[in-house]
């Protein structure tokens, strides 16, 4: 062991930042740094870990819903369904400042029950809502923030792969985790809506009202059919899951079929539209897989080099009181969340954090919800912010990654507020936390 793991951690972060700042694609930058890490720390024979991680990711079942959601979203966006939906919303809400933004956030919260992973919802909203909000002259930063922050709720509102993996890792009740995640999830959603309403009233230019005269009720009603196709698709996807017809991933497939049928019946389905949606799906899936791979290889390499032990020793070195320890862990999750994807963090940190959390007598369900809210932040925090990547993979090319991250700041604050609430006032979140009593 020539190089200390602490030094190596710094080399890793500095090297990574240097590479991505000069524009090296992030997936390759982190993949390369992962390779450097194992090469320096273990030796060339350990480079086999790159293929192991690549292969493991490629055959991950839950990932399958990503191309399906992208396909569904591309079809909706290429047809006029998305446009009609937002025309209808605008018809009803043109004189309500921020109204379309609020409805988008509400839709995202409902759709969060359709998908268990980060990404599916964001591409859906990114393709459907973003162009329409920009068309309605909503501020770009704000639109992006609404879409990514409320789209991330897919992993907070059940079903959630984050909670499932946490439950499997900690052998805690996934049913309980699902129940307990709802209130904090809705709280994030409610705060996002409150934020939209307040901010757009302070700075009206962020969500301009239409100059056109208000519509009569009759005119408004004539716009209502525009709402039907999207509502129909949501009902089909949610219905497939909750009536036990399909699994979570298959439900995304049902969504694709429902979308195709609706577009066909509207006589909008052309060969070009189909091929174009397919090509975009293919491109976006390749983009997403590559960047996700970069993050997972980094986690594997860091784990092999003894990262978890280093993290544990760092945190225990301070000899803190239980609640400060939890606080420190949240800080470390936030730091790790900036550079890694959540699966990497579960695998790296949980083996060292959880035994400590349990030994201190904390409720593992509560800790799981804390973790889940914390990961909401990680989806948005740069430089490795999966929500931004998913949006970027489908957004118009003129919207850069920096543009996307710029819109996130206020929404990260919202997530941190909820994180603090779950941490310090567990009893106000839900009844089930009343057993939360640290033993020491």
């Amino acid at each position: 062991m020539e190089i200390e793991i602490g030094t190596l951690s710094i080399i890793l972060i500095v090297g990574l930042l240097a590479l991505i700042s000069i524009g090296v694609p992030m997936g390759f930058a982190s993949g390369f740094m992962g390779a450097v890490l194992v090469f320096l720390y273990i030796g060339e024979h350990a480079l086999g870990i790159l293929l192991s991680r690549y292969y493991s990711l490629v055959v991950t079942y839950s990932f399958l819903s990503v191309p399906l959601f992208i396909f569904m979203a591309s079809l909706l966006e290429r047809s006029n369904i998305a446009r009609d939906l937002y025309d209808a919303l605008n018809a009803w809400l043109r004189k309500t400042r921020g109204g379309v933004g609020v409805v988008t956030a509400i839709m995202a919260t409902i759709m969060a029950a359709m998908s268990g992973i980060i990404g599916g919802e964001i591409v859906l909203l990114g393709l459907i809502a973003l162009p329409q909000m920009l068309r309605l002259k909503y501020d770009q930063d704000m639109s992006i923030g609404i879409i990514c922050a409320s789209g991330s709720l897919g992993t907070m509102i059940p079903p959630s792969i984050v909670l499932i993996i946490y439950g499997l890792t900690t052998e805690t009740s996934i049913t309980m985790l699902f129940q307990e995640a709802i209130v904090p999830g809705l709280m994030i959603s409610a705060l996002i809506i409150t934020y939209i309403l307040i901010r757009t009233r302070l700075q009206p230019h962020l969500a301009p009202l239409s100059d056109e005269p208000p519509l009569t009720l009759k005119e408004k009603i004539s716009y209502l059919p525009g709402l039907l196709p999207p509502i129909g698709i949501v009902i089909i996807v949610l219905g497939s899951i909750y009536s036990g017809i399909t699994g979570i991933t298959e439900a995304a497939g049902m969504g694709v079929v429902a979308t195709l049928i609706i577009i066909f019946s509207r006589k909008e389905l052309t060969v070009f539209l189909f091929k174009d949606a397919l090509t975009r799906t293919f491109k976006a899936s390749g983009t997403i897989l590559t960047i996700t791979f970069g993050a997972t290889v980094l986690a594997g390499a860091y784990s092999l080099a003894g990262g978890p032990k280093y993290v544990a020793e760092t945190i225990l070195a301070y000899d803190l009181k239980p609640m400060y320890l939890i606080f420190m862990m949240q800080l470390m999750f936030l730091v790790m969340g900036a550079f890694m994807d959540w699966v990497g963090i579960v695998l790296l940190a949980m083996p060292v954090f959880l035994p400590i959390v349990l030994a201190l007598g904390f409720d593992p369900i509560w800790f799981g919800i804390l973790f889940c809210v914390n990961m909401q932040v990680s989806f948005l925090s740069p430089p490795f912010g999966p929500a931004a990547f998913y949006l970027k993979s489908v957004a118009p090319p003129h919207i850069s990654l920096t543009d996307i991250f710029r819109g996130f700041a206020p929404f990260i604050v919202i997530q941190l507020i909820v994180l603090a609430c779950v941490m310090f006032f567990p009893e106000m979140m839900t009844q089930n936390f009343h057993e939360f009593v640290p033993k020491k």
Binding site: I20, I22, L51, P67, S285, G286, L401
Partner: protein, 189 residues
Amino acid sequence: MLDKQLQEQNEKVASKDDFPINWIDRVSLFLSHTIKYLIPVIVLVMMYEIFMRYIMEKPTMWVNELCLWLAGICYLVGGVYATRLRSHIRIVLLYDWVSRPTQRIFDLISTIIIVLFAAAVIYGGMEDAYRSFINWERFATFWDPPIPATMKPLTLICVFLIAVQSVNNLIIDWRNPKEKQYDPSKDLK
């Protein structure tokens, strides 16, 4: 003088919203525009499973793994396609700010990193992929498809193609006034 000529020439190319294409691009394009049709196939077999399980009450033993397999192929080849379209996710804050000659240096470094990365994946995974392929390693399930035997070598092939495509991009973009992302719909006739 030459630089200016080239710049004009390339701006013309760029303004046509088209771009130089050589045989390497053609290989990527051919692969991508063939493999992408696996996505609707995934949807189809998935619907077949739902129909068989929910309506016929005769669940299949192969749909789940076939979907996994096909999707894996899509992600891997999709990575090559994304490379060709220059659509891999990157932070261009500094990149957009520096001069074109500096951008070329950045591009050169990027390409070297990608090539080194690919070399590391291939060097490190060669033995494992070869072993899986030669032993026709299967997925250890009832249907037992040869997923490891095919996907591990395919991963290495696609990583190799990504590296080749990156070098190709560097050569083509070197003369361009500015690197640009290509719109995938331009590929469609």
